[in-house]
Symmetry: C2
DNA sequence: GTTTTATATTATACCTGTATAATATAAAGC
DNA sequence: GCTTTATATTATACAGGTATAATATAAAAC
């Protein structure tokens, strides 16, 4: 499971609250790993029990108090160990759109609508999401330690999302053509 | 969740046992949806409670008895309803390889190894897995009702897996080049 | 003025996915 | 002859992901 390493990684840049981490996730890692705030808070507690992070409570005026998390020495070592592994994990596929396509022969019109929606969504991903991320990368690279170097790796993850979206668009177009020909008969 | 629809879809072709369904999943849907047998047996029970499938016990000699599942009228209607929706579900991304790449700046050599393994795995997917599936498609299209038409949709799902694998290979190559240039400095 | 948004966390329950062990026997491979 | 593979299901526990509600206030938007 990668969530704790995502949190350790972000905490290695800056001390953060659960709330900060939730937003940082949304701005950066979200393209390839989604985590809800409830999951992040739960994981931070677990990691504190394991000594990977420590926290202190900060009393605020007017706003709810916050709990600021820091990565510990053990946490940094664990992050470095995980990174150093260079291991490719097997990921079980879960892509429910293809379940619909697989059984789509009995509902060609609905499948066409699905494929068009899919194409559309991929176009949105490329346009909106990636523009947003490009911007995040810029602000990020100036804010953190060794940001220029690190941001190149961030950009690589973005690049795969874009390439996948492009491949999916081409695929959807080819399916749409096939089904339309079939329906026309 | 798509698992019950995968099971309903397969049961709409043929009555099957949990064991049959597990193998059919591995041969076909597995490219985009992985399900373990323990999950399939559990889901079948749930679906029977909901009246989507029915089952009868078949007493066998020498082998353990088996429970043969059939899709009910309600099950067929539910499958048709789901197919007719033509709805694109949002899928939360979980791709842990990219988590390692994201934080990879501190371990460029390990990241190179990771990317090479990734490229390799994609090549294997294209070669081995897809040859296997092409074969499955052929045998499948002759066995089931309206198989020639249905198998086209199966092939579409395979096509996306191949396109994604190709895009990922190209991506990995471009990342490898970038990092090697960096390391050489 | 009132509503919405942002800040910040805790609690809880459920659903899905994973892992594994137990059971039993025939057929195929070595 | 012995081991592995295939057949077939049940039981159980845990880990991870989702969903949502409760709480509280300042600042911004309308």
């Amino acid at each position: 499971m990668s969530l704790p390493f995502g949190l350790l990684g972000l905490l290695s840049y800056n001390d953060s609250t659960g709330y900060d981490l939730t937003r940082m996730f949304e701005d950066s890692l979200n393209n390839f790993w989604h985590a809800q705030s409830s999951q992040i808070y739960r994981e931070l507690k677990r990691m504190e029990e394991q000594g990977l992070v420590s926290s202190r409570s900060i009393i605020q005026d007017g706003r709810p108090n916050k709990r600021l998390y820091s990565i510990t020495g053990d946490g940094r070592r664990e992050l470095a160990r995980w990174l150093g592994e260079g291991r490719l994990e097997y990921e079980n596929p879960h892509f429910s759109m293809l379940m619909r396509v697989f059984f789509g022969a009995d509902a060609p019109e609905a499948t066409l609508a699905l494929l068009k929606a899919c194409k559309n969504q991929c176009e949105n991903i490329i346009e909106a999401n990636c523009a947003k991320n490009q911007k995040s990368i810029e602000s990020y690279s100036s804010l953190i330690n060794n940001g220029r170097e690190r941001s190149k790796y961030w950009a690589m993850t973005l690049d795969l999302s874009i390439r996948e979206a492009k491949a999916t668009i081409e695929w959807a177009e080819s399916c749409i053509t096939q089904i339309e020909e079939e329906v026309a008969k």
